[in-house]
Amino acid sequence: MSVSASKPILRIPDSVRRDVLAYRAHVEKFLTGETSAVAFRAYRVPMGIYEQRTSGHYMVRVRIGAGLATGGQLRKIAQMSTRFGNGVLHVTTRQNIQIHDVKIEQTPDVLEQLLEAGLSARGGGGNTVRNVSACPGSGFCPNERFEVAPYAIACAEHLLDDSASFNLPRKFKIAFSGCPSDCALASVADVGFFAVERDGCKGFAVYAGGGLGPNAAVGVKIEDFINGDEVFTVAEAVKHIFDAHGDRANRHKARLRYVLKRLGEKEFVELYRRQKQRLIEGGLASIASVRDIFEPFHRVLPASHAASVPLPPGVIAEKTPGLYTLPVTLNLGDLAANEMLAVADLAEKYGCGLIRTTQLQNLLISGIGAGDISAAADELRWKVQSLASQNPQIVACTGAATCKLGLCLSRGLATAIADATRDLPAVNGPAATIRISGCPNSCGHHSVAAIGFQGKAKRVNGRLMPCYDVMTGANISMGEASLADRIGTVPAKCIPGMMGQVMAKGSVDFNLLRRLIDEYGDFSVEFPEDYFRDFGSYEPFSLAGRGPGECGAGVMDVIVLDLDEAKSAAAQAARLPAGKDRDDTIYRAVLSAARALLVTFGLEPKKDREIFAEFAAHLIDPGWVVPETKDLLNRAVDYRMGDIDSLDDLLPQVDKLVERIDTLFKSLDAALKFRAEPVAAPAAANSSHSVRRIDLRGVACPLNFVKAKLELEKVAIGDVLEVLLDGGEPINNVPASFASQGQEVLATEPAGDHFRLTIRRSK
């Protein structure tokens, strides 16, 4: 089936084209050391290029405007992945396609070649207007009020052409839904447009200030109805409010939903109206125009296709009689580059040449005639090995295996649920969608799920167990959207079996789910050892080494557990008569208080003496807690060892300690740093801020790493070490070794005939 339209759907503005072409020079400056890693990152991330957990590997997030790509574009992406990446592509929940494992020096080639196919990653990351998403069904869905994708594309083109779109307080997400069912998740977008027809006029109801992640929120209505050509004005007006009122100082409270919360709905809407009025007076509304992007893809079917045929499972009937859409259901959004080539071929051979990316991380091949649909489905099954079961649909974030913020191994859970439900009768409808996030950041969109899981850590018998909050009851639809409620917490390891039971009869038995959650959520029972390991992991579950960052919310739960324990033990001790019980309770209060905050340093010592030692090193020595606390800890250890008989006289000190820990806890910012003032000067003698240096030129691997590491141990945590290294093996290996051990490599810069490596000691 030949298709005239290999032309891209979204027209990349010249300004973005220039930015992309200028990128190469930035990379070169970074590689020659002229630009520092930090300065370069500020430029790189808004270009849609992220560093992966494995140091030196980068991910390129290609924007697929409105989720619409041509076969030619998919081929280009696949080719980039094979040539420069790892040959596996990933469809995201916001309809982007990611290329993984690209070397930094090759990222300019990737971006420039993508440009040839009318694709760009600009705004794929950072504090920018992200991909403008739309219903994946736009253009064929029988339910849509009208085609919204042309508006989404026009809106994206307009915003991409404005440099202000790339320097916002935080990311900014826009979505277009074609009907109240809200497949595009416009209810929870920063700006969400819903297609509405009024008096024969195409227009939109508009919601703003929604967002997933910590403190997820549903957007509030800011417009009952606007004409279709007003979308730019509305998007622009909200963007202006965000730009002016978003909290640039605290990126964790920066999203538009916090502006809305701060101002209140009334003032927010008022502000928006004034801003819109100003823009209209400035003549903005006429800037962009909407064009019929689907025109080149319209198909006229030969009569042979009119005959009705038995449809392969999962196939969707389009609004044009005789045309069908074939879903390519992916396993958590992953498919191999050669499979993506096959999808492109199928779209052009059988379909209209358009491929859609979906919010459920799948692809859709649309415009297939009735006569071809069986052949297309057969060919797809044959050529794309990684097709996933459609029942249930599982969406999961990338999880702690690759995400520095993650708590639980969400993809492992997804696989285990798929295994447990594979042979069960099909469950239809949205109830069959399971969404999993490994932490409260909601990358797996658990708060909009029929059944959602949010990873958390729970302390059971003194040890950490991977657990999930179970969320149900989300209703995502225009005007009535509500997020899922938490109905309980269960160990990760019992979820696959639980879902198998709940979905056993071809529907989701929510009553049974509740009963099972009560049963499995009883943490007073004995658990097998396996429950303390996450899926696919042979190590006991631990938060140790997890970065602070946005995982704050999960870590907070664990801190509260200890802090509550410390408070209640201290209170209980005050009521007990003198004696062993009272002394043991005091000891427990000290231990829990000492343990509470260690997790914010990425530490999770298990033994009492280690807890006390780490507490001394991280809270007493730096001056967060009064130095006298060391005596208290020593006494506690003596008591534990039986060297002294009583802790009776220490209770006032213990109360003070617990109070101080509580103060520090309450002062934690979103990056898990204390905002409270220290109470003592740091004990470390090493207070001079001169940068430590070591010259390891002429020292071979691995002894250079050994020596550099010994030197790094001498600088304080948070301070910096400079290392001079030879080129070749040393500069290739030493920075990577440090990065793999969790130290922060700030820069590797050439300096004459050798290199200068700058490392910050992060633990």
Binding site: K607, M641, L703, V706, L710, S740
Partner: protein
Amino acid sequence: MALSEQQIERYSRHIILDQVGGIGQEKLLASKVLIVGAGGLGAPAALYLAATGVGTLGLIDDDNVDLTNLQRQVIHHTPDVGTPKVDSAKAKIAAINPDVRVKTYPLRATAANLAAIVRQYDFVIDGTDNFGSKFLINDACWFERKPYSHAGILRFHGQLITVLPGESACYRCIFHEPPPPSAVPSCSQAGVLGVLAGVIGSLQATEAIKYLLGLGDLLTNRLLTYDALTMDFRAVKLNRNPDCALCGPDAAITELADERPPACDLKGQL
């Protein structure tokens, strides 16, 4: 204590490890491990702990090297036959690593002397071959609150557990008291596969190092059993025994003693 250039090279493969580093190596060099019994289990433990750079090793043994020992006690060599085991072992340790200070105790561990020796060390390795000594070491470590590694080998079987007194199950939590002498096979009756000593003694050294560095999970509340014929390692889960005569709340044993009357009823056997 800064590492010398030679030490940096010697211990470089430790220092590279994220979990050890220079700090960990310095900890090891400042640590003291007591090995009771310089025989089959003590030999590999001593060799590896010496190579590891544990700064002080104590060796208790009152025996001389015998030709029948050489099949498994790899720290002793043919020319050493007839010399005290502690001297033979000390010489090998010095040859492996001059950083290590060796304190030798050419005596039999008894209730009268053991506690005072144990007190000077951070970790104890039980490399003895008889029940009396094993209970004595367990009890001494309890009274001195010293962590220790218990192990035993016979024929093709080995077993191992690490005890953190007061925190995890002790030997007496599990076995209560020595079996009557008639129930105990002597080595000449039973025999032992020589290499078994190397496997189990090396595991004991591993536990010592993990404890000294605060790494990983110790083999506490788990008795590891090893069958060389089937190559099965099994960890049997155990808990502290609330009725333990030594470390339980109503402990009957209040001081270190060499011998105890044999069991005569089922008390404490629930």
